[in-house]
Each structure stands twice: as C-alpha cells, then as structure tokens.
C-alpha cells in the first residue's frame, strides 16, 4: 500500500514523527512511484520558497521603516499624555481637593469684594497723555435751539437775510418771464406787482403825423 500526499507533505516538511517517519523512509526506499511523488512535492515546496522576496529588497525596507519609527516613536520620550496612567494615594487626593477649594473660595472672595463697591463693570484702563489746550468742549445742546433746517425759513426770510448780507438774488420761475425784484425791504410783493409789471398787451403806438410838414 502506497503513501498518500498528506503523509508525504508532512514528511517533506519534516513534521512526521516517529515511528511513522521511519516507516515512510522504509517505504520510500523500495517504492519508486512514492519516491517520485515525494521528490515532486519537495520540488514544489522549493520552487515556492525560491519565489520569496529578495533579501536586498527586505533590507532596504527594514532600514527605512526603522528610520521612520526612530523619528516618530523611539526618540520621543515614552509616555504621551494619553498613555500615562495617573495614580494618586489618598492623602494626595485629599490635599489636592483641599487646595482646589481654597483657590475657588479665595478667588470668589476677591472678585466679590471688588464688585460689591460699585455696579460699574471693571474695564481695563488705557493710559495716554492729554494736552489740555487741544480740548474743545462740545455740547450737544449748543445749537439745539438755534439750529433750524433751511425748510423752516420762508422764502421772504431767506431773501431778507441774503439781502442783509449784501447778496443780489435773482429768482425765476420756469417757463415764465423773468421778474425783477425791488429791494424787499421797501414793499411787499403784493404791492409791487401791479406797479412794476409793464403791460405788454398795450402797444406803444407812435402817432404817424408827418404829412403836415409841406
């Protein structure tokens, strides 16, 4: 009875134990077909091993990976904050808690006493030098009573004012013949109009009385 492939593979891999190993070797010594089969399985294994990645390739990668690890991990001090385990004994915890209370208490007292004096919100102060001559006092009420917009004056008042300042103002209405103004002071507009307007309808007719000469 010949050997099956599984036993031969185990034998080829050197994994077959005694007494089976000796029995297989004995069989192989006289069975040509099993010996051939065994040889071909060995060849297959060798062939697969031969296709391994070359050592030179491995060595370059090995150096490269190591330099990355050295740069990012090994040369850094062990124990990043997240990895560090904090252990406290009871007295340490008690002292720590007490210290925290003291800080909070004192802190709140300091703040409270300051804000108790006035309701002013503390604002950081800014220091700067002031030249008293440069200060011009300005009050919002300064011009409040006198300040009027132009609309609050009548045309009359405006003209009066301008006239008083020595301006000669000429006012025209669109598509209406020019009107000349007399100084406003003397007459009101209603009085002036009939006197001033020259009636254009009445033509000045020159009398043609010439024939009498001869």
């Amino acid at each position: 009875m010949c050997l099956d492939d599984q036993i031969l593979n185990t034998y080829v891999d050197g994994e077959l134990e005694e007494p089976w190993k000796s029995q297989v070797e004995e069989h192989l010594s006289y069975c040509n077909s099993c010996r051939k089969r065994c040889e071909s399985l060995k060849e297959l294994s060798e062939r697969v091993k031969d296709a391994a990645l070359s050592q030179s390739e491995i060595d370059t990668r090995k150096d490269r990976v190591m330099s990355v690890l050295e740069k990012n991990y090994l040369n850094k001090k062990k124990g990043l904050f997240r990895n560090r385990i904090f252990k406290f004994t009871f007295p340490q915890m008690a002292i720590g808690t007490a210290a925290a209370f003291v800080i909070v208490f004192v802190g709140s007292f300091a703040l409270g006493s300051r804000s108790g004096k006035s309701d002013i919100i503390p604002v950081p102060e800014i220091g700067y030098t002031v030249d008293i001559n440069n200060i011009t006092p300005v009050r919002a009420s300064d011009n409040a009573t006198t300040a009027k917009s132009l609309e609050s004056y009548s045309l009359d008042e405006i003209l009066k004012n301008l006239d008083a300042r020595g301006y000669d103002v000429d006012i025209r209405l669109k598509s209406i013949q020019p009107v000349t103004f007399e100084p406003v002071v003397e007459t009101t507009t209603t009085d002036v109009e009939p006197a001033e307007v020259v009636d254009p309808v009445e033509p000045v007719v020159e009398p043609v009385v010439e024939p009498v000469v001869e």
């Binding site: 994994e15 990645l53 090994l74």
Partner: protein
Amino acid sequence: MEIRSGDEKTFRHVYDENFSVMMKIAYHITYNTDVAEDICQDAFIRFYDKNMYFPSSDDAKFWLIRVTKNLAINYVKRKAREAASIEKIKKAPVSGNPFSDGASELLLHESRQAVRKAVAELPEIFRTVIVLREYGDLDYKQIAKVLNISESNVKVRVHRARKELEVLLGREDVDVS
C-alpha cells in the same frame, strides 16, 4: 526571555529578529512591496504603542506575525473588492533586475512570477498556511498557534494548498509552453 514591547532596547531586538519574516509574509499575501512595508510599519507601531507583555520572544513573534497576516489579508480583501488584483500582480515588476544574468535568470524570473501568481490565486485559508510555512518559515505547531487552529488542521490545509498550487502551476506551465 520576557518581552515588554514598549521598551526601546527590547523593541529594537524584536524588530531585528522579525522584520524579514513579517515583510515576506506581508509581501506574499499582498504581492506589493510598498504595501507590505506599510503593513510592517503599522504592525511595529502597534506593537510599540501598546506596551504589551509577552512571556517569551516567540509569543511576541507570533503576535507580530498574526497582526501582519491580518493586516495583509484585510488589504487583499479590500483590494479584491475594488478591482481585479491578479491583473496587477501579473504586471507588477519583480524586485531587482531579473535580466542581469541572462537566460537562466530570465527563466527563474518567469518561474517566480508563475509561483507568485499561483499563490495569489489560492483561497485565503490555503494561502495563509502556505505563506506562513514557506515564507514565514514556521512549523505546523507555530502556524497552528498563529492561526488559532489545530495542528492536524494545519496539516490538512498544507496538503490541500499544495495540491491546488500544483494544479495552478501545471496550468501555468501549459500556458507558457
């Protein structure tokens, strides 16, 4: 020897001992050297950061191999979901210059490519076992520990994986000739 993974001196020692094996395992599962490098780096960062205790250097080694294997398998699964990864393996350049020694080198290169392609085509449970056995150089007992399965299960998987490889490589040889 007891291992504290966050200890720098110990870490360097473990790194020197295991980097090659991890790189091989990561590479032969992903078949991408850059990805394999990232996986190894990731595994070592986890190892160092967690500051774990291991009763022996073997336990540390198995932990690292397990993490490497899992990261690599995760990558392959993600990749498989995204695109046909085997096409990329076909085109991926083999490390080093394969043609430096002429014809025999060329044949060796082709043989390697065929093997890598075949390994990549194995179902995950067989691939892991073969990679750990042939590239991780672990014995059955160690493989069982890493994969958390029984030794007899490892035996069966190795047998089936080789059977499948034979078929895949036989098909490949026919294709080539």
